[in-house]
Structure formats: structure tokens, C-alpha cells
Symmetry: C2
Subunit: 505 residues, 2 copies
């Protein structure tokens, strides 16, 4: 701490306290999803609202603002500390720019809009949701106006700031458009090959207990520290970093569908490895101890789920273990068959069920439409038509009803506009970062085949995790891979698999 | 709320907030014992200390003090509300009488004293603990001086206030002394009968999963609301009321010893039924929504564990269920054999392993000695000798070493002086209250035999649970049973069992 000004030291102390309170709220949320009995719901809402208010008050106090301003004038701090202050300023401005009345209106509208959305989706009745979506778009425009549009940008950029600091819609468009064009063509070729059905193989039913045992085995093998984390079961899987030394993953089991739990566990583990790799012990509550963005977080989950977990080398290693723990069926299959089974590409209507290749087209669709809605280029009433038209263009299928179309996702009813792109950013960053990791370790496949995942993890720790929010996502990408994000690596990766599994390219 | 002054309304609001924060801390504690990974320990300590400090600050603020004073002058509030304010005053005075420096010194000494106690117990080395116990007694005297001795009382009474508001050492002595005398004689007769060994029967090993299933079945059958609570596994069983609608029980399983888990579960369930019966929804954070005292809390746990769970009528009902879920062995035994097996009396050195009858002698011993230590009538250096002498007098056995003697309990090292009597108070209140319940429902045994425990539960709800802290323990006892607490009911109950099981009285 020597050389640090007293303002900076106090700022760190206060941020740590706010962070500690925030981690308490994270436990309240985790417990609510895992073990809380239903009768505890009202009390839990009261607890969470109280703690959330305290965290917000602490993070937006005038005193914090003064301390940040003092530190910005402090010439004695290091570059890393300067980045810490820069990110504190960003958070502070973002948190103080929205009037409490707007925050409250968004929250209460979201509660009702979600209710309306649930009913509308069930009946596939867009008319019942339309006015709520109009309200949400209006509130999103107000929010964007409060944040302020970045120079040369658009209102959508202001919303992106919440999820992907520094990202711009025009940059996303530049990366997503060629990706979508090439992917559409590739997916059409895969479909034309007619091979998916013959490659679709499935093990017999596997008990949840066996799947859980195997999941834990994978976690340990891949470097997730079980002494500082755990795996539980919830309706909707998630990863929650509860603070230094406590990272909790959840998954769900279906006996007739082992892949959902296994890849779900690897996905959450990817998030969890990032959380465990952040320097939280020294930097609890500070930007330097936090994840950069949703896109970078998602790059970690997608990397372990897809680039590692769906690789041939993964199956070379995992096959005997799966045969022993999950089902002898795995031992009766070739590694090629297991590899193909894990990499089938098949257009479908529902995003959350989509495979690795078609998934990005689902995202491009949403990004395009929500951006147009926010701009006013598209009216909410026109959404179903626009959705179905673009869906058919991208994925070659006619959407049968809005339930399987524009009503399928909860996000818009929750005021999450500008969130969808982070999913594809995750895939794009994962592929580009993984190419660099492979350059640094040309024997990566050999390592995976022998169950050595430590090389990749330590590469991620060094190049990504340890920095916290020192660099913005785009900057980190350039530092690590030598170039800005583009669609090349992801396309090369998906084409490679299409060639191996389907013989097309 | 009509007719309530604005001071009273604000007081309730602030108490509710402090209560909500307190329940957050309870979840942090529960999670630490159940699911937290070891790596989370440091972060958890930081979270708990922060929330505990906030709760303390809120409960001891000058503003709260002013509001309480204003309400004490308020002639418009009801008798129930007046009791609420009376208890708030009590808590406030207790919390504000100790200087922060003394609280801090007790906490830090306790941490080190526990460490020393663990080492001393392991090596049965009293000398290694002696100076710590002297420190603790000194701090306890300082604490008692801050609280102030009640008129006509002694320093020990001031310490009792924390655990058993309104209790006086002289009253306890008046009840405990005849109890101990009669029990010693009864236990000697039981021992002389020589029947314990032949009555000691045991089922074969039972898996934890089966024991857990049976425990859950008992909870549901006896009225514990599983929609507002749950049962988990921990090293040390406990019950934690996490707020309205959320009461958590824990137990532990040993395959070769089903009774420990079963009676442990019933014990915690008794605490849990009390927590579920308190009017927490309307009265969260207020005395009227809280338990009266440790003694009354313990009376609920002991009643369900012992007076219900160790009755012949319980086994008449439970036998076929135990046979089906736990082990067919239960079906091969007579109800009398199961009843006797659950009511063996056998003097032993360790309190936590003691049976229902000898248990109270362990408590009388500790009460007598800690009271003498506090007064200075007994020096810490003389403790082992005094312990062993009194133990032999009460239980007829010579203590072989201090590990099985005065070093066995953690309490004194944690500054818990004045706590032990609440265990026996629990047994005494349980027996006296149960006699009244039986008078109100003479067919109680018939009900239990048919699995109907709802009558007893609703009697407890009406007579005890719903009142929160409206009445002090002694006052409630008189209201419900028509007389002050005495040893008669407990002695009648234990003699009845001794007669049925051992043929002595």
C-alpha cells in the first residue's frame, strides 16, 4: 500500500465493503435457486431488496464520487491502479446517471411485462405482449438518453455499455454480417448433405447420480478447484462467483439426455474457472478483481463447453471415463462417432436448443431487430413479420407461430435490450483466443488427449483472468491475439468441424 | 395500524429492517455449516462481521433509544404492544450497556480460549486451559457488572439475562436441588436393577439415505411445514429460523446408530415447530415475533424429542413405518422392546451422550460450579477436584480424567457462562407444559398411536408459540399450567418411565 494516497486507500476500502455486501446478495440469490423452501420467497425478496439498496447507496454516494475525482488527479499511482480508477469512474457514472424514478419504473414494468410475456408465449399471442414491448422500448430509449450516446454512435451503444463496455453496434454489425452470410451458406450445405440423422446416436438412460459423479470428475480433471467451489442442481443452470474462494456452479439432469447436463456443466465451469482466476483475494470489490464483460465471460464458458468439450481430443480422453462412470455404451462407440454426435448441426426454431453453428444466426436476428426497434426503424407491431422473414432468410425455415418465433425469449420483457450480442461475442472471442492459445501450445490436442487441461487453463489465467478489468474486451483481444476481433477464427473453426463431421466446407 | 403513534410505527419499521439483516446473517451461518466450500471461509468471516456490525449499529442507535422512550410514554397502545415495547427496551439496554471495548475483548479472548481449550481437552491437560478460564471468569464478572445485578440478586443473574430473561439463580437452585436429589436416588435404583444390558437392543446398519427418508416422514407426520423449511446434514445439528416461511433443520447420520439421527431430528424439529409457529410474518424483527428464551425454546425441542418421541404411543404408531422405511428389524420387535430401548438410563461421563434422566445431573453440576467460580467461592485451580467430587456424589462414578470431566464442554471457552441451566429448564418446562396439554387432551396417547400429532401442535401454537415474547418464561408457565415452575412434573414423568421400563420407582 506504500505510495498510495489516502483517498485511494479509502476508495479501495469502501469498494471492498460494497463488494462484500454484493457477495451477500449473490448468496441470497444462489440459495433462492438451490435450497430455499418456497415459503421463504417473500422474506427473501425483502432481504435482497434491502441489501441491493445498500449496495447501490454505497456505490453511488457523493463521497465515493469525490474520492474517485481525487484519485483521477493523483499522479503517484501505477498504470494498473489508474485502470482501476478509470473503471470505478465508469461504474459510478453509469450508476448515477439513471434517476431513481426511472430505475423504479423499469423494475416494476419488467415484473408485469414478464407476467404478460409468460401468458402471451403460452398462447402464442403476440397482441397480448405488444403494448408491454412498446413500453419497454420506450423505457430503453429513456435509459439510453440518460446514459448519453457515445460520440459518433447511436442509442443502442449506450445500452450495450451495461453488458459490453466499449462495444459499438456498428462494430458488431461489421463482424456479425460476414459471419452470418458465411454461416448461412455452410449450414445450407450441411443440411443438403443429409447426414445428421445417421450421425444422431444416443446412450441409454443414465441416472442423475451417475451424471453428477461424471460432472464432478470433469470439473476436477479440468482444474476447477472444488475446495473453493461446488456443483448443485437448479431448474436453470448458472455460475455465481460468491467472492474469494467460493464459486458455485449449477446444472440440471435428464436421464434420457446426458449431453445437456454434461455440456451445461462444462459451460458453467468455464464461467467458474474465470471467477476462480480473478484476483479476488487482493481485489475484492474492485474492478481489477472483476470480469471484463459478458462477452469475455461467455468466451470462457463457450471455450470449455465447445472448443474443448466438443473436440475429438476431448473424447479420446473422456471415452474410457464415460464408459466407466456413465454407461458402458460409450465404450462400444468409436471416438469419431462420439465426436460427430457432439457436433451435429441442425437448424431449429428455439435459440436455447440451437447448436454451435446455427446459434449465432439466432443472435444476429435478435441484434438486428432490437436495434431497429430501438431506432424506430421497425415498429413493435411489425416485429412478428420481420422476425419470420429474417429467420427464413438466415435459417431456411418458416416460423410456424410466435411462440417459436419472437415470443420465445424472456430478455425483452426484463428490459435486457443490448444483451443478446454478448452471446455471439462469446463465441467469437472464444475462437480467436483459442487460436492464439493453440499457437502458444501447438500440442494442445495431444495434451487434451492425455487429460492435461492445465496448459490451457494457465494460459487463460495469464492472458485473461489475472487482469480483471484492466483492459476493455476489444483491447485485451488485440493484446492477446494481435488483432481486433473478427469472424475469421470462428468461421475457420466451424468449417473445420463441418469438414470433419459432414465432409462439407 | 390505526391508533398507533408515528413513533411506534417507525420503531416497528426499523426493528423489521434490523430483523431482516439479522436473518441474512442467519443464512450466511447456515450456508457456512451446510454447503460453503472450505475456501470461502475468509470471505464468509468478512461478510458475517460486516452484517453483524450493521445489525448491532441499528439496534443500538440513539434514534432507536429515543423512539422506545417515546413509545413508553404512549398511552394509546394496547397491552400486547406495550409488552413489545417493554422487550425492545430490555434488548436495547442489554445491547447498549456493554462498552464496545469489552465486547471486542470477550470476542478475541474467546477465539484464543477455544483454541487453547481444544488442545487442552485433547491432552486432558487442565493446566493448559486454566489461565484462559481465569480470564473468561474475569471478563464475565466485568460483563455482569456492566449489566448490573438485579435487586436482591447476584452477579450470576445478570449473565442469565442474556439467555433466560427474568430467571434468578436462587430460583433455579430451588427447583434444581430437589430434582437432583430425587433423580440421584432414582438413577441409583435403576442401576441396581441391572436390567440396562438386557434391554439394549439395536437394529442392523441403516443407510443414511433411508434414515433421511424416515426423518422427512416424521417431520411431515408431526406437522413441520416442509414448504416453509428443510432438513440438511451437518457435523453439528441445529435449527435456524431464517425468517418468515423459512426454517432450516440439520441432523447427522451414522449407519450403526439410527437413534442419534432420529432423536436429533425430532429435537431440531421441536425448535423448528416453535420457529414456524411464531407470528413472524406480521412481527418480523419485533419481540412479539421472537422466542421467549433459550429455556422455552429447549422445552419445545425436548418435548418432541422425549415426551413425544420416546413414548410408547409413538412407537405403537411408528413401528410399521420404521419397519417399512428403516429396517424390517423393527417389525420383529415388540412395541415394549422399542419403548424400553429408547428409554435406557445409564450414567456416563459425557453430557452430550447422557440419557434423559442423568442429563439433568450433568447440568446441576455445571450450574453449581460456574456459579461458585463467578462468585469467587471456588478458584479456577480447584475446579477439577470440585468437578470430580460433585460428579461422584451425583452420578456415583469416579471421573478418570479432565477430558471426560471439566474439560469436555466448549461453553466456558466461548464466554457462555449462565447458559447451561437453560438445558434443564427446557426439560422442566417441557414436562410441566406437557402435563397441562394432557389435561386438556386426556386422549393424547390414543392420538399419538394413530399418528395424530396435530392436537398437541395446535395446543402449543395457541398456548405458547403465538405469543412471541409477550410473557416472560416464568409468567407464561404460570398462565398455562396454573403454577410456577417446579420439579414435580419432570420427576413424575421420569419415575413413570422408570417404573414401566425398569420396574423401579
Amino acid at each position: 500500500m506504500s505510495g498510495q494516497s489516502s483517498a485511494y486507500a479509502e476508495l479501495r476500502k469502501l469498494m471492498r465493503e460494497a463488494g462484500t455486501l454484493g457477495s451477500v446478495n449473490a448468496l441470497l440469490a444462489w440459495d433462492q435457486e438451490t435450497y430455499m423452501p418456497p415459503g421463504g420467497a417473500d422474506g427473501r425478496a425483502e432481504q435482497r431488496s434491502m441489501i441491493a439498496t445498500m449496495v447501490h447507496e454505497r456505490r453511488t454516494s457523493f463521497h465515493i464520487g469525490d474520492l474517485i475525482a481525487a484519485c483521477e488527479q493523483d499522479a503517484t499511482i501505477t498504470n494498473a491502479e489508474r485502470a482501476n480508477v478509470r473503471e470505478m469512474r465508469r461504474d459510478y457514472d453509469l450508476a448515477t446517471k439513471l434517476p431513481a424514478s426511472l430505475v423504479g419504473e423499469i423494475a416494476s414494468t419488467a415484473t408485469k411485462a414478464q407476467e404478460a410475456w409468460r401468458g402471451a408465449r403460452e398462447k402464442s399471442d403476440f397482441a397480448a405482449f405488444r403494448s408491454w414491448l412498446e413500453k419497454m422500448m420506450g423505457l430503453a430509449r429513456q435509459k439510453a438518453a440518460c446514459y448519453g450516446t457515445p460520440a459518433g454512435g447511436e442509442a443502442y451503444d449506450a445500452l450495450l455499455e451495461e453488458y459490453e463496455p466499449g462495444a459499438r453496434a456498428s462494430d458488431l454489425e461489421r463482424v456479425f454480417t460476414p459471419l452470418a452470410k458465411e454461416l448461412s451458406a455452410l449450414i445450407a450445405k450441411i443440411k443438403a448433405s443429409g447426414k445428421t440423422e445417421s450421425l444422431s446416436i444416443k446412450p441409454p438412460a443414465i441416472s442423475a447420480a451417475k451424471q453428477h459423479e461424471f460432472g464432478q470428475f470433469l470439473l476436477k480433471s479440468m482444474g476447477f478447484d472444488m475446495n473453493s467451489g461446488r456443483l448443485d442442481t437448479t431448474a436453470h443452470p448458472f455460475c455465481e462467483g460468491l467472492g474469494p474462494g467460493d464459486t458455485r456452479l449449477t446444472t440440471r439432469y435428464r436421464e434420457d439426455e446426458f449431453a445437456g447436463a454434461m455440456y451445461g456443466t462444462l459451460h458453467e465451469m468455464g464461467h467458474g474457472l474465470y471467477e476462480q482466476g480473478l484476483p479476488k483475494h487482493d481485489r475484492a470489490g474492485e474492478p481489477l478483481g472483476e470480469a471484463i464483460s459478458l462477452g469475455i465471460h461467455e468466451s470462457q464458458s463457450r471455450m470449455w463447453e465447445n472448443l474443448v468439450g466438443r473436440s475429438r481430443s476431448f473424447w479420446t480422453w473422456a471415452q474410457p471415463h464415460a464408459s466407466k462412470t456413465l454407461s458402458a455404451w460409450f465404450g462400444t462407440q468409436s471416438v469419431d462417432a462420439l465426436y460427430s454426435m457432439s457436433n451435429l448441426v441442425k437448424p431449429s426454431f428455439i435459440r436455447v436448443e440451437a447448436d454451435e453453428a446455427t446459434y449465432n444466426l439466432h443472435i444476429l436476428l435478435r441484434f438486428t431487430l432490437e436495434r431497429a426497434l430501438l431506432r424506430g426503424d421497425l415498429q413493435v407491431a411489425e416485429l412478428p413479420g420481420a422476425w419470420n422473414e429474417l429467420f427464413e432468410k438466415l435459417l431456411g425455415m418458416r416460423v410456424p407461430d410466435d411462440r417459436r418465433g419472437c415470443l420465445q425469449d424472456v430478455h425483452w420483457s426484463c428490459a435486457l435490450i443490448g444483451y443478446f450480442p454478448t452471446y455471439s461475442l462469446g463465441n467469437l472471442y472464444a475462437a480467436q483466443l483459442f487460436e492464439s492459445a493453440r499457437e502458444a501450445m501447438p500440442d494442445l490436442d495431444r495434451r487434451f488427449e492425455s487429460g492435461d487441461f492445465g496448459g490451457l487453463l494457465s494460459w487463460l489465467r495469464t492472458n485473461i483472468h489475472q487482469h480483471g478489468r484492466r483492459y476493455r474486451a476489444g483491447e485485451l483481444c488485440e493484446r492477446v491475439t494481435g488483432k481486433p476481433l473478427d469472424s475469421g477464427a470462428l468461421l475457420r473453426y466451424l468449417r473445420g468441424k463441418a469438414s470433419e463431421v459432414y465432409g462439407v466446407s
